[in-house]
């Protein structure tokens, strides 16, 4: 038995089936597609989250706000609300962009590593992993 080969096969199998399942899912996307999808998801989540926060603020301070409200104050409040939303969205978009870029790079690196390991396995025993079964699904 080729212990080195068995170890490599176990490592690859473990990565594919357990440890790196999420990363391999990410690696299937193009970087731009993945980032676009995550930014869109971020937009919806931050919008809903901000609306909830505004709702909670109004619940907590509704009475005091309604007591001394003037038209000019209302304009300032709406402007502040929209400004806060834009700031929050910008902050979370940047954060999402950075984290998702890192995740995608890591996933691609892992995919390359797996492909390399599979190539090595194929080189070691071409009879077993023939050309008709080449690719990640062979192990």
């Amino acid at each position: 038995m080729d212990i080195k080969r068995i170890r490599r096969m176990v490592k690859v199998e473990r990565l594919i089936s357990r440890d790196a399942r999420e990363e391999l899912k990410i690696a299937r996307y193009y970087r731009s597609d993945y980032l676009g999808m995550m930014l869109l998801k971020n937009f919806f989540l931050v919008t809903v989250g901000y609306m909830i926060l505004i709702g909670l603020y109004l619940v907590g301070n509704g009475d005091s706000l309604l007591e001394g409200i003037y038209m000019s104050d209302l304009t300032v409040m709406i402007t502040m609300g929209i400004g806060g939303y834009v700031l929050l969205l910008l902050l979370y978009s940047v954060l999402t962009y950075m984290i998702c870029t890192l995740r995608h790079v890591k996933a691609k690196k892992l995919e390359r590593y797996l492909d390399h390991q599979l190539e090595l396995l194929q080189e070691e025993d071409p009879a077993e992993t023939g050309s008709e079964h080449s690719g990640r699904g062979t192990v």
């Binding site: 989540l45 909830i52 909670l56 619940v59 907590g60 979370y92 590593y113």
Partner: protein, 382 residues
């Protein structure tokens, strides 16, 4: 020490061999403790306190990913809160949802910390989790630990206000419900957002975790010991100082016990995850075309012990073969020539600064250059 190391090796090999059954059992135990804790703390819906139901949920959690355990625990909390008042359940859902939107989605693997933190708080040992997460994970653990702290505080707010909340009814017209809802929500929100104790705890938890994480990654000797003690001390000092300046009641005994448990757990984790022999540290310096390398190599204790055993065995065999007395010790622990790396590359300078490295049985010669080159090759393969 040898016995302890032997015990460690046995534990590790046992967990490797029976990991497929051990991990589900551990998950079952954590889930069972979490669900029981939720029922014991909130326990307003008697149907949910059923042991069979708790066992069933724990069993499901044991065989599914951790995220399912988190989901089930969250559902249990919401259902228990619903028994108090509909608005309390809505409040809890909103807290969970906001936590997910603004924090938890960036750290998807923090489910276990999120579950364990309320348990640790309930047991009165909150500093255990940041120490453990700092030793085993990264700075993203702050999200899990602090998220768990917020959930525990939200549960505490519900428990404190439950009698007054239960007295108010949720029936009637819509306008009556809205009229009633506002003060209730304000009560719950104030309990969570204007809670100085919660803020202090979150700051202390985050600081402790970051201190433990950054210190244990340092290359200084005994970094893990210092990280555990330093992190625990920082938690205690922050809580004491915060309690002093914010006029809060801090139980010295509980803080001391919590710190002692945190140090014990941290040392336990260190024993299983990071066993090195600092007395055999080697400092190496060499260069290639692009870089100068300053390497500090600290051998793992298990490996060193294995080498010592092997060296003793080989020495005994040689002694028997030669029929000579055991007075002369030969450097049989060496597997490589005396200075192979130096002769192979003139730029390589091996520096063994530690005095204890004179005895070959104490400090077996290792070709670190070869090992480093192999590691670099592996990295390049990536």
């Amino acid at each position: 020490m040898k016995d302890l190391l032997g015990f460690r090796e046995k534990c590790i090999s046992f967990s490797e061999e029976y990991g497929f059954i051990l991990f589900p059992i551990c998950k079952f135990a954590v889930a069972f403790a979490a669900f029981r804790m939720i029922n014991a703390a909130l326990g307003y819906m008697t149907q949910m306190n059923n042991l069979f139901l708790v066992l069933l949920m724990s069993l499901i959690s044991a065989v599914t990913p951790v995220s399912i355990m988190v989901l089930l625990a969250g559902l249990l909390v919401v259902v228990q809160c619903y028994a108090v008042h509909l608005l309390v359940a809505v409040f809890m859902l909103v807290v969970f949802f906001l936590l997910y939107i603004f924090f938890l989605r960036f750290a998807p693997n923090m489910g276990l910390a999120l579950i364990l933190m309320p348990i640790a708080c309930r047991l009165g040992v909150p500093s255990v989790l940041p120490v453990a997460c700092g030793l085993l994970g990264g700075p993203a653990g702050v999200i899990g630990v602090c998220g768990g702290g917020v959930i525990y505080s939200a549960m505490s707010v519900v428990i404190q206000n439950a009698p007054s909340l239960q007295n108010s009814s949720s029936a009637g017209s819509l306008s009556a419900m809205v009229q009633e809802a506002l003060p209730l929500l304000t009560l719950l929100l104030d309990g969570l957002l204007k809670n100085a104790e919660l803020m202090l705890m979150l700051i202390a938890l985050a600081t402790t975790l970051l201190i433990v994480y950054f210190v244990r990654r340092m290359s200084m000797d005994y970094a893990w010991h210092i990280a555990i003690v330093g992190g625990t001390l920082s938690y205690a000092v922050l809580i004491l100082a915060g309690g002093f300046f914010m006029d809060m009641d801090v139980s010295f005994l509980q803080l001391f016990l919590s710190s002692a448990v945190a140090v014990a757990v941290g040392e336990g984790i260190r024993f299983f995850c990071f066993q090195v022999d600092y007395s055999s540290t080697q400092h190496l310096q060499f260069e290639d075309d692009e870089y100068y390398y300053y390497v500090k190599a600290v051998p793992k204790t298990a490996w060193l012990e294995e080498r010592r055993q092997r060296a003793k065995k080989t020495a005994a065999q040689k002694k028997r073969a030669q029929g000579r007395p055991a007075a002369v010790k030969s450097p049989v622990g060496r597997t490589a020539p005396a200075q192979p790396a130096v002769s192979a590359a003139p730029d390589f300078h091996r520096q063994q600064r530690h005095p204890s490295s004179a005895d070959p049985l104490e400090m077996p010669a290792v070709d670190f250059r070869d090992q480093l080159e192999e590691t670099l090759r592996n990295i390049q393969d990536l």
